[in-house]
């Protein structure tokens, strides 16, 4: 493993409308990551090694990373005219948590900072299989937040509990280790006003901190999706022969909003995915896939922004890549079984995915200017994927059955 240099990146927030100033990382940082905003709207993100960025260099980088996005936002505003965001349906924000009271409190504080919960918008905390009272007491500091307990261990049990408790037309899911951006709600309002028929909304997920090598490496590998292009996805995407199987393009479970009716119609989340160890993933991909396949538009809105605290330990990151491979393939396994009409697309995607992983391994030798993937991460993900393809979904179903029996 060649990646033993300790890395730590300073995150700077730049409003492009203001006169540009050099970004200087404090002592001890090996690089800077810059979140770009234009008139409060997130338009770009980039990372760069070194102690800082001079103002002129910053302008070049902004132009390269966000120039098109700034312009297309202006064109969009021009073409679309004014947007009435006042009609907004009741919303429930569900935060499923498990033994992370400090992170949860931070998330609730960020919601509180934008005035949530409020009239018409409820915040539910679903404490999943709690071992102690810490989460409950953390929530007590926020008197308007609803606290629920879901005894069956498993993220999707908790999410389904949220669906049954929710009353609003929209239901948002946030992970407990995220912090919402001040423009999050505004972004949802705009996306809803422009797409009143959508079944789901997702947004970019940026790093909350890049204090350890693990966090930097994860973000450099692409992290969670952070495209700032506003896209309305549909059942088909003419340019892609594998769409919508690669559900990672839609977003991630840390930041997603659904029309509750659509979730009800689809029977909620698949509780055999996202069970926590040993299969803590795939449930978000599965629900995005099913939403899109059911014919609901899925909207990716750049203003629906959250910051996520990535794994701090390198070993845990490797394990996370393993579970990503595992979860992805468990979801593929499930879709293969239940969506016979789409098997050609699924087969093509799996094939593409393997080639893609292979190209990651060879990337350092083939082409310059490409993201750098440590080989141990790629191997972990592929190994997870292989285990995932070899019947992980069935094993998970059996485990979940046992959990249900024990709970009953």
């Amino acid at each position: 493993m060649w990646n033993k240099v300790r890395e730590r990146y300073y995150i700077a927030y730049v409003e492009i409308k203001q006169p540009l100033e050099a970004v200087v990382a404090p002592d001890g940082y090996t690089g800077v990551a810059v979140v770009l905003r234009f008139l409060g709207r997130p338009v770009g993100f980039f990372m760069q090694g070194g102690a800082g960025i001079a103002a002129d260099e910053l302008a070049t980088a902004i132009f390269r990373h966000a120039g098109k996005q700034i312009l297309s936002e202006k064109v969009y505003a021009d073409l679309r005219g004014s947007l009435d965001t006042s009609p907004f349906p009741p919303l429930d924000i569900a935060i499923c948590t498990h033994g992370r009271p400090d992170a949860l409190a931070r998330c609730l504080r960020s919601l509180d900072a934008i005035g949530l919960p409020c009239d018409g918008i409820r915040v539910l905390v679903i404490d999943n299989a709690p071992r102690d009272q810490q989460t409950a007491s953390a929530v007590k500091e926020f008197p308007r937040v609803h606290y629920l307990v879901e005894p069956k261990p498993g993220l999707d049990f908790a999410r389904n509990r949220a669906i049954s408790e929710a009353t609003g037309e929209l239901l948002a899911f946030l992970d407990d280790d995220v912090v919402v951006d001040p423009c999050w709600l505004e972004g949802l309002r705009e996306a809803w006003a422009a797409n009143p028929d959508a079944g789901a909304f997702t947004g970019p997920i940026l790093p909350l901190e890049l204090e350890t090598t693990s966090q930097v490496v994860f973000e450099r590998m692409g992290g969670f999706g952070k495209s700032f292009e506003r896209v309305r996805f549909a059942n088909v995407l003419p340019e892609s022969p594998t769409y919508p199987v690669g559900a990672g393009v839609f977003g991630a479970g840390a930041n997603m909003v659904f029309r509750r009716l659509a979730l009800d119609q689809l029977g909620g989340f698949d509780d055999a995915l996202d069970t926590g160890a040993p299969l803590p993933g795939g449930g978000d991909l599965d629900i995005f896939y099913r939403i899109v396949r059911a014919g609901y538009p899925l909207v990716r809105e750049p203003k629906l922004l959250v910051y996520h605290q990535h794994r701090r330990e390198y070993g845990r990151l490797r394990h996370q890549m393993w579970t990503w491979g595992l979860g992805t393939m468990a979801y593929i396994n499930k879709s293969w079984r239940h969506d016979a009409a789409h098997r050609p697309e699924i087969r093509r995607w799996v094939w593409w995915w393997l080639c893609y992983q292979l190209s990651k391994l060879f990337a350092p030798f083939l082409r310059r200017n490409r993201a750098h993937w440590p080989w141990d991460m790629v191997v972990a993900e592929v190994a997870g994927a292989i285990v995932g393809l070899c019947g992980e979904y069935d094993r998970s179903i059996a485990r979940v059955e046992r959990v249900r029996r024990e709970a009953a």
């Binding site: 492009i16 132009f63 098109k68 312009l71 064109v75 073409l79 422009a194 088909v236 014919g295």
Partner: protein, 425 residues
């Protein structure tokens, strides 16, 4: 595999785009004041599309072109084979980008007030036994917003009198018969006979945009510009063959931003083989007659009707660049091309294109002794086909990739060009 081709004019308020029965979806080209700025595809499942949705699609599709038109710096189109141009002063470029207000309205204002040019233009349509297509093309030429000095129809090695009959239906169109077969010969004849300072060529299977001529004309206000090419948009996408030609191959499509190829560009790419075929398409190009008077010709050993299905145009451009002149690509001068409808025609076309391409590389090497052409021929093309074979395997032998692979046979056939006996003129 039928897609409907739709134009949306952005100076009018966006309306809902209705569903269209019988089609897989629509391919929308966005125009402002008749200038094409970008396109997108919407599948049937995405229709009807609300104005909001269209605005979003349009803003992603046209942003780069809008930036190119409105800003002094930045958003310039990359030229094939050289690094993307960066703004000279990023700070200034960024400031003007940030200050930009209402880009769409600003663009409408800018485009409506463009400078006029006094260059005289003749139009030449080279044709061979395609009377119906020719009639369609001539009808579109009659609707030009500013008339040409003359319209010439060069009937190349006719086998019947049908072309003449069609031309007689259009008063003012001059019929010229060129008995020697070959598009190059026909083009040279047009250059010899035309009276305008510029000859604008349009293929007989295309129709022109009403403002096409005015926009071609403006390219020639710069005296160093000897060739201008324009955007070729699909007139219809009614068959799978047309769809593959347009969406997978991009033979014609060079984007919505202006490009200028000059002597500097020529010397920057010379060692690796100047990618002249990406300057534009012969289906929509204009040539200043000065170069003909100075002895530049379309090489009659090359081109449709003689050897291969293309190459005579790009080889001509190569000579222009080598002589120190410039070629420009002006997307606003657009024509709408009717691609081949049948898959078999498409297969033959790919074969002939690659045959012509290889022949042009050989000829360019023979004429100018630029080893970049051989480098392209012996290193780059085999590598491209190796990648294609990999892609074939990954995509599970998709039809479009299979058709492209036939180009390899065309390449081999093109090598025969080196062993052809010199023709008698």
């Amino acid at each position: 595999m039928k897609w409907r081709v739709i134009s949306i004019e952005l100076s009018e308020p966006l309306a809902e785009l209705p569903a269209c029965a019988g089609y897989e979806g629509v391919r929308v080209v966005f125009f402002q004041n008749g200038v094409p700025l970008g396109h997108c595809r919407l599948a049937a499942a995405q229709l009807p599309a609300s104005p909001q949705h269209l605005a979003n699609q349009a803003s992603n599709a046209i942003a780069l072109a809008v930036g190119d038109y409105l800003l002094e710096e930045g958003f310039r189109s990359a030229l094939p084979g050289v690094p993307e141009p960066q703004p000279e002063s990023p700070g200034r470029a960024l400031r003007s980008l940030v200050r930009l207000k209402n880009p769409v309205q600003e663009l409408a204002h800018r485009l409506s007030a463009q400078v006029e040019s006094t260059v005289t233009v003749s139009i030449a349509v080279c044709t061979r036994e395609r009377p119906e297509a020719l009639a369609r093309c001539l009808a579109s030429l009659a609707k030009l917003s500013e008339p040409a000095v003359e319209v010439l129809v060069i009937d190349n090695a006719p086998q019947s009198g049908r072309t003449r009959e069609v031309v007689e239906l259009f008063p003012g169109v001059r019929y010229v018969c060129e008995p020697q077969k070959g598009l190059s010969t026909a083009r040279n004849t047009a250059l010899a006979l035309a009276s305008g300072a510029v000859v604008a060529f349009v293929d007989d299977d295309a129709v022109v945009h009403p403002k096409w001529l005015g926009r071609i004309r403006r390219c020639f206000s710069d005296s160093n510009v000897m060739v201008a090419t324009g955007l070729v948009l699909p007139a219809e996408l009614e068959t799978q063959a047309q769809m593959i030609f347009e969406e997978s191959f991009h033979f014609f499509h060079q984007g919505y931003r202006y490009r200028r190829f000059d002597a500097k560009y020529f010397s920057a790419t010379r060692n690796k083989g100047v990618p002249v075929w990406e300057i534009g398409a012969g289906a929509n190009m204009a040539v200043r007659r000065t170069v003909y008077e100075l002895g530049h010709r379309f090489d009659t050993r090359l081109g449709p009707g003689v050897f291969g299905g293309c190459g005579e145009d790009s080889e001509f451009w190569y000579g222009i660049l080598a002589a120190g002149w410039s070629c420009v690509y002006e997307p606003s001068a657009c024509v709408f091309h009717y691609h081949r409808r049948e898959l078999n025609d498409l297969r033959r076309l790919v074969y002939q294109y690659m045959q012509g391409h290889v022949a042009a590389l050989l000829l360019q090497f023979a004429k100018y002794r630029d080893f970049g052409n051989l480098r392209r021929l012996l290193l780059r093309l085999p590598a491209e086909y190796a990648v294609l074979v990999l892609r074939l395997i990954v995509t599970g032998f998709a039809l479009d990739q299979r058709i492209l692979l036939r180009g390899a046979l065309g390449c081999l056939a093109g090598l025969r060009f080196a062993f052809r006996k010199p023709q008698q003129a």
